[in-house]
Amino acid sequence: MSTRLSTGGRLIDRTAPQGFTFNGRPMRGYKGDTLAAALLANDQMLMGRSFKYHRPRGVVASGVEEPNALMNLGTGARLEPNQRATTTELFDGLIAASQNHWPSLDFDIGFLNNHAARLLPAGFYYKTFIHPRAFWKHVFEPIIRQSAGLGKAPTELDADRYEQAYAFCDVLVAGGGIAGLNAALSAATAGQRVILMEQSAHWGGRAPVDGATVQGQAAESWIAATLATLAAMPNVTLRLRTTVAGVYDHGYVLADERIADHTPGDGRPRQRLWRLRCGQIIAATGAIERPLAFAGNDIPGVMLASAVRDYVVNWAVSPGDRTVVVTNNDDAYLTAIALKEAGLEVPAILDARATATGDLPSRARAMGIRVETGKAIAKVKGGKRVTGVSVCVQAGEGAVLHDIACDAVAMSGGWSPVVHLYSHCGGKVVWNDALAAFVPDTARPPINHDGRPMVVCVGAAAGHFAADAVSPGGGVGTDGAISRDANPAQAIQPVWVMPQGAGIKLRSKMWLDYQNDVKVSDVQLAAREGYESVEHTKRYTTLGMATDQGKLSNINGLAVLAAALDVTIPQVGTTTFRPPYTPVTLGALAGEARGEIFQPLRRTPMHEIHEKAGAYFEPVGLWRRPYCFAQQGESHADAVAREVNNTRQAVGLLDASTLGKIVVKGPDAGRFLDMLYTGVMSTLPVGKCRYGLMCNEQGFLSDDGVVARLSEDTWLCHTTSGGADRIHGWMEDWLQCEWWDWQVYTANLTEQYAQIAVVGPNARKLLQDLGGMDVSREALPFMGWAEGSLAGFPVRVYRISFSGELSYEIAVPASHGAAFWAACVTAGKPYGAMPYGTEALHVMRAEKGFIMIGDETDGTVIPQDLGLGWAISKKKADYLGKRGQERTYLANPDRWTLVGFETLDGSVIPDGAYVITDGTNANGQRNTQGRVTSTYHSPTLNRGIAMGLLLHGTKRLGEVVQFNTVSGGTVSAKVVDPVFVDKDGVKQNV
């Protein structure tokens, strides 16, 4: 059984007991425990079930690489799935639950999958996708959905808040072990701004556990002294519990700091996401021990050798009374020694190498530990817990020599440098035969903006494993700053399958990827089925694709694949490491951008008045515009109909402030606008307005609006509400990059003016009551504008109409917007003035056959399609889009063109409906000859009206066509002129 030792534990505080529950069972641990350590101390070795076969699984590791011990942590608004027990700091009141099982961890129905393992081979998912099809839908998918999935998704809004911080430094050191501390000290001493981040809650890495000495001192005292020096330096920032998650272009780094994960609800942000820009990144990220592939290597109690000694030394937890150590290198002997020193039994060290002659084996032998060289584990015995191992020779096929009773197995297949940060942004790795590992290829580092290497690995991450080799002043800038490994250890002997000649029966019990249940036999099957690329094999078998991203399994899987293909490991290559190094919660990535401040909102000066008037708002880009002003008891449709009728019969007020307003000024402004618009703006007289169209260089309609000439050298260009920034950018693009010798100045004044449209037969009377300027037909005719004052407000009044009614659009400085709106409302009372929203605006413009950018246009429509040929100058030699429109496809007379549609039964054609025609296309879909672009119920005509594009449309007035509907039926509609109301434009011109 696993238990707490009576003495020791460098990280725990025995005076601070902490209560927690696991699957509802109360347990106790100490401050300083990880959840995994505390569970082991309570003899809870079984911590989860595997993803595919639901096999019982115990903890394997002691750090971020843990694949098995994933927990649901917390409850309700603080529930979070898939948290690694090995990195979760214990706190009083912690609630943890295991995952992937039903109905209970001890008895799991999904474990049946294990006995059907034959039916779930590599590529199982893909195979069931293919054959037979119905099987996937009716048999496999429902079963997989029942039994698969990691953890439970929270159902409540996250109770915690998250923040983001920005920082800059000359040197970022990732990893606070010996190499990281040393590198930080060197850089800081050289005067550089240094940030040092350590993912765990403790400095020093694993050197103290391993009893290392650094520069002649015991590791613990060297760490304390170095840390004290760093803490006193003003140019150094130290962060614990902060993972450097990803390295991106030009020294950009994301790091995740867990501030209050272990003190939930204490008022601090739960996590802080650091966005760093670093001159250089030093990856002192250490190495991860590899498992060995032997039969039954996933039975709870089989752990990494380094994890076993972490639990013993750091937390005084014994994973078992009798632990068999199995290894292919010297390092695992440290575990045997630590166990023995803690008073625990090590029945044998099984060393796959023919001899073991290094310092550590000698020490182990001297302590009386039996070392069996050339030996391997044939299989592990046990179900939910190790009960023993069968021993065989590594060189053979697994014939059992003898059994050893034990309750834990400590395995070591060697160490893989953590090269992730080096690799994230393009750094290459190279295979090192002596270490049997990929190490950074210093000839091909990731590159910074200035061409210098962006990431440098030091210490174990660079393949230099001995803490003792860290030299003062080393660690910055060059790989060579850390001297070569001086440890008199005997070389590792690569062992990828144990024993090397294992048959299929053993190989199908050798796990490579614990979390995704990928076995040696699966990778070999993939190779037999023709998978040669590691990237393909990875996806086919799902090796390394679980939440641990293959931290334990990638190299072993690669080696097995290489052997199956009969090539070397470097020939197979490695997969690309991608950020984040460990999972980052979405809350941290979102930061403060949630709820009301998810994105910045743009509000017009009259926004609050609209809110008080009960406006229902709709988003228009970042703007919020009133959609309608529903009164008590009114539906939105009722409100829109009332607003339309009231505007057409009395007078309506529209907040048009969002309309884009761009001033174009200068000696060449007229010439410039003639290039920008399809029509001629240079000839527009001062005091007049003209409707204009803008196209992109392909000729497609991009934006429209009314242009007013303010003075001899100044024009005001109105754009669509959503288009102001884009069009302003478009203007600047041409002025700065193409016609930079033209003297033109542009300014986007959209937010400087509030704009109110006063629309309807009573509009003039309302304005006359406001008083201050002549708004008569003679003084201010249709398509004219005038400057003056109304009710004492400085105004610019444009006589333009988007509704077909008598209409004035009045611009006032934004600061006067709210007051002027209120004045209009008051003055309008005797005339029945009511505000109207964007939907009434849309209905009225559709009744008049006015196009709307984004409805009638979709980036493939030219003005000629929309009957707007009148707004295109035939005389101009050039304008943006002219050449594009001359292309044969756009000049084709068979293009769909704009018409109106009236349904025969008066109904409203569904949005997006197509006009169908005979026959079907190659995909068996009904052929089409047109589509609806705008469709509304017209309160004015009390029937459905629509605009749309139709093949040879303008030649087919009077014809009846068929629209499809969502339900599968059709709607008959007559092709008509798109102007439904006041065809001659009499009403707007009074």
Binding site: G251, Y252, G426, I447, N448, D733, E738
Partner: protein
């Protein structure tokens, strides 16, 4: 996320401050051009692995367009320069050649 120096502001700007404008030094073909010329202007874009010239706008800064010479493979930036030029200036060409000896302008 790239950083590029705005030649107007003289600051290193984060990519979030910039908006991209794709390939630089295109020649515009308008009315009177052949179909082939117009097609090349409109659609044929270089996509080199290596030295490339791009347009960027300091959209959330000074608002100015500028041009950048950089390596699309390593992301090394050879230099940035104002947009009011029809070809890369000599000092930019020299900076590229210093880092990519075999490279020739117009490639």
């Amino acid at each position: 996320m790239l950083t590029l120096e705005c030649p107007y502001c003289g600051i290193m700007a984060d990519e979030t401050e910039l908006s991209p404008g794709y390939e630089a030094h295109l020649k515009r073909y308008g009315p009177g051009s052949t179909d082939a010329e117009f097609e090349a202007y409109m659609f044929a874009r270089k996509n080199p692995k290596g030295v490339h010239f791009e347009r960027w706008r300091h959209a959330y800064g000074c608002g100015k367009w500028f041009l950048a010479a950089r390596c699309t493979a390593t992301l090394e930036v050879f230099g940035t320069y104002p947009a009011q030029t029809s070809g890369p200036p000599p000092h930019i060409i020299a900076a590229i050649k210093a880092r990519r000896p075999g490279w020739e302008a117009g490639q």
